[in-house]
C-alpha cells in the first residue's frame, strides 16, 4: 500500500511534467507555420490566375471534357512539376458546370499517386473560368 501511494504520486507528477514538456515542444515547433502557409497560398493563387490568363486551364478542361484525358492529365502534371518547388505535392481539381448544372469533376495529382497524409496541411486556392459552353472552378491544393 505504501509502495502504491508512492507510485501514484510519481505517476501523476510525471504526467504533469511530460504534459508541460509536450506543450513546450509544440509551441517551439509551430510558431512560423501559418506564415509559411500564407506564402505558399499566395504563390499558388498567382499560379492559378496565370494559368487562367494564358488559357492553360480552359484548354486542358476542354480536353478533359472531350475525352482526351490522358494527354490533359499529363500536361497538367508537367505544369505542376515545373511551377512548384520540389518537395511540395499538388492536386488540381476541375469542377465543371453547365449553367447551374454540375457536369463532372477531374483531378490531377503530382506526383501521380500522391495523397495528403494526416499530418499534412493542405493549402487550397481557387479560380473560376469559362471554356467552350461550360463554367468551371479550378481548385489547387498544395501540401
Amino acid at each position: 500500500m505504501k509502495g502504491f501511494v508512492f507510485s501514484l504520486d510519481s505517476v501523476i507528477a510525471l504526467l504533469i511534467l511530460f504534459s508541460t514538456l509536450a506543450v513546450a515542444v509544440t509551441v517551439m515547433n509551430t510558431s512560423y507555420s501559418s506564415l509559411k502557409h500564407y506564402e505558399v497560398y499566395r504563390y499558388s493563387l498567382s499560379i492559378l490566375k496565370t494559368l487562367k490568363k494564358e488559357g492553360f486551364l480552359s484548354s486542358q478542361a476542354s480536353a478533359l471534357v472531350n475525352g482526351n484525358q490522358n494527354q490533359a492529365e499529363s500536361f497538367i502534371r508537367q505544369k505542376l512539376r515545373s511551377v512548384f518547388p520540389k518537395g511540395l505535392r499538388e492536386r488540381i481539381t476541375l469542377y465543371v458546370y453547365n449553367g447551374s448544372q454540375y457536369v463532372d469533376s477531374y483531378s490531377v495529382t503530382n506526383p501521380k499517386k500522391a495523397y495528403p497524409g494526416k499530418q499534412d496541411t493542405i493549402i487550397s486556392s481557387r479560380v473560376s473560368f469559362v471554356f467552350d459552353d461550360y463554367e468551371a472552378i479550378a481548385v489547387l491544393q498544395v501540401w
Binding site: 508512492f6 499566395r42 498567382s46 515545373s82
Partner: protein, 140 residues
C-alpha cells in the same frame, strides 16, 4: 515507516515541482523570444507580400515596359517606392530560376547581408514572355 514514506513522497514532489518550474520558466522564456522573432518575421513578411502584390498588379499590363523601367531605378528608389527594409532583393526569373533580362536591363535588384537571421520570400507568377516568377525576399 510512515515518516519515511512521507519524506520520500515529499522529496519526489518537491523535485518534480522544481522541474515543472524550470520547464515553465524555459517555456515563458521561449514564448517571449518566439513572439519577438514572430513580430520581426511578420513585419518583413508583410513587406515582402506587399511588394510582391504591388509588382504583380503592375505586371497586369505591359509588364516588360514596366519592369524594364522599374529595374533601371536605384536600390534606394525601389526601397522607397515599395517601403521595403534595408535588406531586400527582387528578381524576375523563369521557372528554372534564371534571372530574366531585357534590353540590357537585368531584372534583379537589391542589397542584403548573408548574416541576416530571417529571410522571407514572397513569390508570384506572372506572364512576361511566358511564365515568369517575381521573387521578393526581405531579410532582417
Amino acid at each position: 515507516m510512515k515518516a519515511q514514506v512521507f519524506t520520500a513522497d515529499a522529496i519526489t514532489s518537491v523535485g518534480v515541482m522544481l522541474l515543472i518550474v524550470a520547464v515553465a520558466l524555459f517555456m515563458i522564456n521561449s514564448i517571449t523570444a518566439r513572439n519577438a522573432e514572430l513580430v520581426v518575421y511578420s513585419q518583413i513578411e508583410q513587406k515582402a507580400e506587399y511588394a510582391a502584390d504591388y509588382l504583380e498588379m503592375k505586371a497586369q499590363s505591359f509588364p516588360k515596359e514596366y519592369f524594364t523601367q522599374f529595374f533601371s531605378k536605384s536600390v534606394d528608389e525601389i526601397r522607397q517606392e515599395l517601403g521595403l527594409p534595408y535588406n531586400f532583393s527582387i528578381r524576375v526569373t523563369d521557372l528554372n530560376g534564371r534571372v530574366y533580362s531585357s534590353n540590357g536591363v537585368v531584372f534583379s535588384k537589391g542589397n542584403y547581408s548573408l548574416k541576416s537571421d530571417y529571410v522571407v520570400t514572397a513569390k508570384r507568377m506572372i506572364l512576361l514572355d511566358g511564365e515568369k516568377v517575381i521573387e521578393v525576399k526581405t531579410y532582417s
